[in-house]
């Protein structure tokens, strides 16, 4: 059974009708997935990897048409009727979604949701459905499944929710599970557990897994074979170890080269005057009615000196973004002191703080929403000048915007474009231009590369290094990605539940972590190298 084919895709073509005309998203893709095998489809956004995987379940939008053949356990999903397709979904092919909190219906218990899948495929008694739901929850590692089966999704943590989603996919014992970025929304420590579970699913259930991801570390950790897609076509298919050891296609090589790795760079300690100093910094969000306030940042001390990059690392909910926002006064400080450029943000009025704003630049995480869609890029970059600049500076704004665009390696002509006409990476560059146009002393970069593809991320990080040397700003670099922080930061502060657990030079913190939490964070990081992984996990 283990060698039989779960999925065979032959010459698949998918075209979408969009407002901007037709988009030929997948062209002539052929691939095979055997039972008990994990095949990873990797590629950057727009490469067609998600569309390809979704056709396995017949999940294409109405605006798409597909040709070719997609055999799932012997049945062609492109040729069957809607009713037959319904029979295939769940029973032969199932899906695990990216965001577990939206994949579960919040008003039903998880047991009910698992049973729903069972009831959709044949008559089954209530007691029997419950028994099977409990059984499957136990097998995916939900603690005390007999009681958990009656719980609602919000009673589970993010990682447990993803386990429930996987349980729902497994309950009918499908031939193949399509996992679309199954760990992207999860913290790295939780990601490691889910990857472990998926590996067990493959070994114990003999299920084929089609893994869609952009994370090469996850690929190295989980996949048996890798399919690299680019521009809707397959550029390379190889065994995972061969792909990482000797990639053949030039695109695969650039993709692998762009993956950030922890390399423990030594840096000379930068030290100048203090730009930001936090002492016992506490930030609380008001609680709901009769609930105590939520303490996002709980007594944090740190210093940021001029010319230095401090990496603020932590998982979601650690308070790292809140600290960045507090420095720019987007969030109110509720305790302790936070001196920014000599002014205590916790006590100063906006009037006293306003003149400092021209010395602070901010780069936001999401390039899609960080520009006003109705203003040209040029107008957006010039806004700080318009607000703070002198008469003369405003008169020369156009030239200055052009200079900045060149500094972030965008053509000058882009000043006349609108944000939607730029790609995510280009917008993030423009975002740096806007933050730097007044030559700030302090730059706050809140996950500036998290929303980008790896190769784009690599080029933005390189740009960051270049800009830093030219403009010489101090920077608070907020990220959840240890490999990224290793590339840019002189010092690292690791946050956990609103407290700094460890702080020190980057190479020291990442190379010889003192605290258990830091060690766990580093150990959970999937390494984009299957050989090293094997040695590390002893498999």
């Amino acid at each position: 059974m283990s060698e039989s084919l779960a999925v065979r895709i032959t010459d698949l073509d998918v075209t979408f009708a969009t407002d901007a005309g037709e988009v030929h998203a997948v062209r002539g893709v052929s691939l095979e997935v055997r039972r008990g095998e994990v095949v990873a489809i990797v590629g950057e956004s727009g490469s067609g990897k998600t569309v390809t995987a979704r056709t396995i379940l017949g999940l294409l939008a109405d605006s798409a048409i597909a040709s070719g053949e997609v055999l799932v356990d012997g049945e062609d999903v492109l040729a069957v009727s809607r009713a037959e397709l319904r029979g295939i979904r769940g029973a032969k092919a199932a899906m695990v979604f990216q965001e577990p909190s939206t994949a579960l219906n919040p008003v039903f218990t998880v047991g009910w949701q698992i049973a729903e899948g069972l009831r959709a495929h044949g008559r089954i008694s209530r007691g029997e459905a419950r028994r099977r739901a409990i059984d499957i929850l136990r097998r995916v590692g939900i603690p005390s499944p007999e009681t958990s089966v009656d719980k609602y999704p919000h009673e589970f943590s993010g990682g447990q929710k993803q386990r429930v989603v996987i349980a729902m996919a497994l309950v009918l014992d499908p031939a193949v599970i399509v996992a679309d970025e199954p760990t992207t929304a999860l913290d790295v420590t939780v990601q490691a557990e889910i990857l472990d579970l998926l590996r067990r699913v493959r070994d114990e259930f003999g299920t084929a897994i089609v893994l869609i991801t952009h994370n090469m570390g996850v690929v190295a950790e989980l996949a048996d074979r890798v399919v690299v897609m680019h521009d809707g076509e397959i550029v390379e298919t190889a065994d995972v170890r061969r792909l990482f050891a000797e990639p053949k296609d030039p695109y695969t090589r650039t993709l692998l080269a762009a993956v950030p790795r922890v390399e423990l760079r030594e840096r000379a300690p930068a030290g100048g005057e203090v730009v930001v100093r936090a002492r016992g910094l506490r930030i609380e969000y008001p609680g709901r009615f009769r609930q105590p306030p939520f303490r996002a940042v709980d007594g944090v001390d740190f210093e940021l000196r001029s010319g230095e990059v401090l990496g603020l690392v932590g998982e979601s909910g650690s308070g790292k973004t809140t600290i960045g926002r507090a420095i720019a006064r987007l969030t109110r400080v509720t305790g302790g002191s936070l001196d920014v450029l000599g002014v205590d943000v916790a006590r100063a009025r906006e009037r006293a703080f306003a003149p400092l704003r021209r010395r602070i630049g901010f780069v936001f995480q999401d390039p899609a929403s960080s520009f006003n869609p109705l203003l040209t890029i040029g107008a957006a970059i010039a806004e700080p000048l318009v607000v703070h600049g002198s008469e003369e500076e405003r008169a020369n704004a156009a030239r200055r915007v052009g200079d900045l665009l060149e500094a972030v390696r965008l053509p000058r002509a882009y000043a006349d474009r609108f944000p939607h006409e730029l790609s995510g990476g280009q917008r993030q560059r423009a975002s740096f231009a806007r933050a730097l146009i007044l030559g700030p002393d302090l730059l706050i970069a809140d996950e500036p590369t998290s929303a980008l593809d790896v190769s784009v991320q690599a080029s933005v990080l390189e740009l960051f290094e270049d800009l830093r040397q030219r403009f010489g700003f101090a920077c608070l670099f907020i990220t959840h990605d240890l490999a990224v922080v290793d590339q840019v930061a002189d010092r690292i502060a690791v946050l956990h539940r609103g407290r700094i657990v460890e702080e020190g030079p980057s190479a020291r913190v990442l190379g010889s972590p003192q605290e258990a939490y830091t060690r766990r964070l580093i150990d959970s990081l999937p390494v984009p190298d299957p050989e090293l992984q094997r040695r590390r996990t002893g498999r």
Partner: protein, 343 residues
């Protein structure tokens, strides 16, 4: 990807509000939009050229020769749509009635937009006590029937006898009062959403003045859904005017032509077999309502990408596709995120 990295910008005229939607639409949605637009534009043209189209004035009771018009005359060459009991020419009354209806629409829409949008912006942006009070007041107004309010306003403004402006104002003000909460709700919801977007925070971080953030960044991005409410608002405005006229609180026939008034005066005629006095003003009301509603529905469907129909793509031979153009010197493309359908 077969798409280009940067969407090609269409010429300026193609980006104008309604032109863009027509170019975007196909099938039934295009039919609705185009029909609605044609009827609405037709009505506007009739109103604009009313003195040229109508054979007589709206309050004219005798011909150029001084001979009074016959009463209850059936349609004829002299009076194509007949005359009423009082001797008015029905065609002229209907044509001039368009002017009154459009005047009510413009007034009501303009007043409710200005008030509703400003309140929505303030309430959504600043929040707090102001927001809570305004929301409660608006919810209370929701429960108030339009026509009842219009009657009260009509009596307050004109003490029962109305000229053109009193009648239109009565309808306009009552519609404004009822519609302000709707604009308020929609704009407030959009403002609350937009306020949290990164580009607004980015303007705050820059230190931009509050007024600049509110009007340049927030307001301009919050107005996308307004055309839809505007069309609903428009229909309700002239229907309220007609309703007032029908109840006898509208505009005197000597002051302006008004469909509701004419319809009311035609009620006794219907039983005596005189159809032309009722049918024409009635049809005029229906046509304008249908036209504006179709326009609104068309815009509504198109504004939601999930409801919008698109031309089905034709699958071409793979080989025939040209190589995708390589975008700029900067970095790999980007562009269309893999299409995602709602789960």
């Amino acid at each position: 990807m077969s798409g280009t990295a940067v969407a090609v910008r269409s010429p300026w005229w193609a980006r104008l509000p309604i032109v863009r939607q027509i170019r975007q639409s196909v099938g039934v949605q295009r039919f609705m939009l185009v029909t609605g637009l044609a009827i609405t534009l037709g009505c506007i043209a009739v109103a604009a050229f009313a003195p040229l189209i109508a054979p007589y004035g709206f309050n004219q009771l005798r011909g150029a020769d001084g001979v009074p018009f016959p009463t209850h005359a059936a349609p004829s060459a002299a009076h194509p749509w007949g005359t009423t009991l009082a001797g008015y020419d029905v065609l002229s009354r209907v044509v001039f009635g368009t002017q009154t209806a459009l005047l009510a629409i413009v007034l009501a829409v303009a007043m409710s937009i200005v008030v509703g949008v400003l309140l929505g912006l303030l309430s959504g942006y600043f929040g707090g006590a102001l927001d809570r009070v305004l929301v409660v007041v608006c919810d209370a107004i929701y429960a108030f029937p339009t026509l009842l309010l219009a009657i009260v306003v009509a009596i307050a403004i004109s003490h029962g006898q109305s000229g053109l402006w009193q009648g239109v104002l009565a309808a306009g003000i009552s519609i404004t009062v009822v519609y302000v909460p709707q604009y308020f709700r929609v704009v407030r919801a959009e403002v609350v959403r937009i306020k949290a977007e990164a580009f607004v925070e980015s303007a705050k971080v820059i230190g931009a003045p509050t007024a600049r953030i509110m009007f340049l960044h927030v307001l301009r991005n919050s107005l996308r859904t307004l055309p839809l409410i505007m069309t609903l608002n428009a229909v309700e405005a002239f229907e309220t005017l007609a309703g007032l006229g029908f109840l006898g609180l509208g505009i005197e026939p000597s002051a302006a032509a008004e469909w509701g008034y004419d319809l009311q005066k035609a009620v006794p005629d219907v039983t005596s077999g005189i159809w032309w006095t009722a049918i024409y003003p009635g049809v005029a009301i229906v046509v304008l309502a249908v036209g504006v509603t179709l326009l609104g529905e068309g815009l509504n469907d198109l504004s939601d990408p999930r409801l919008r129909h698109r031309r089905r793509p034709v699958l071409r031979a793979r080989r025939a596709l040209p190589e995708p153009p390589q975008p700029g010197p900067v970095e790999p493309p980007a562009v269309f995120p893999a299409p995602k359908e709602p789960l």
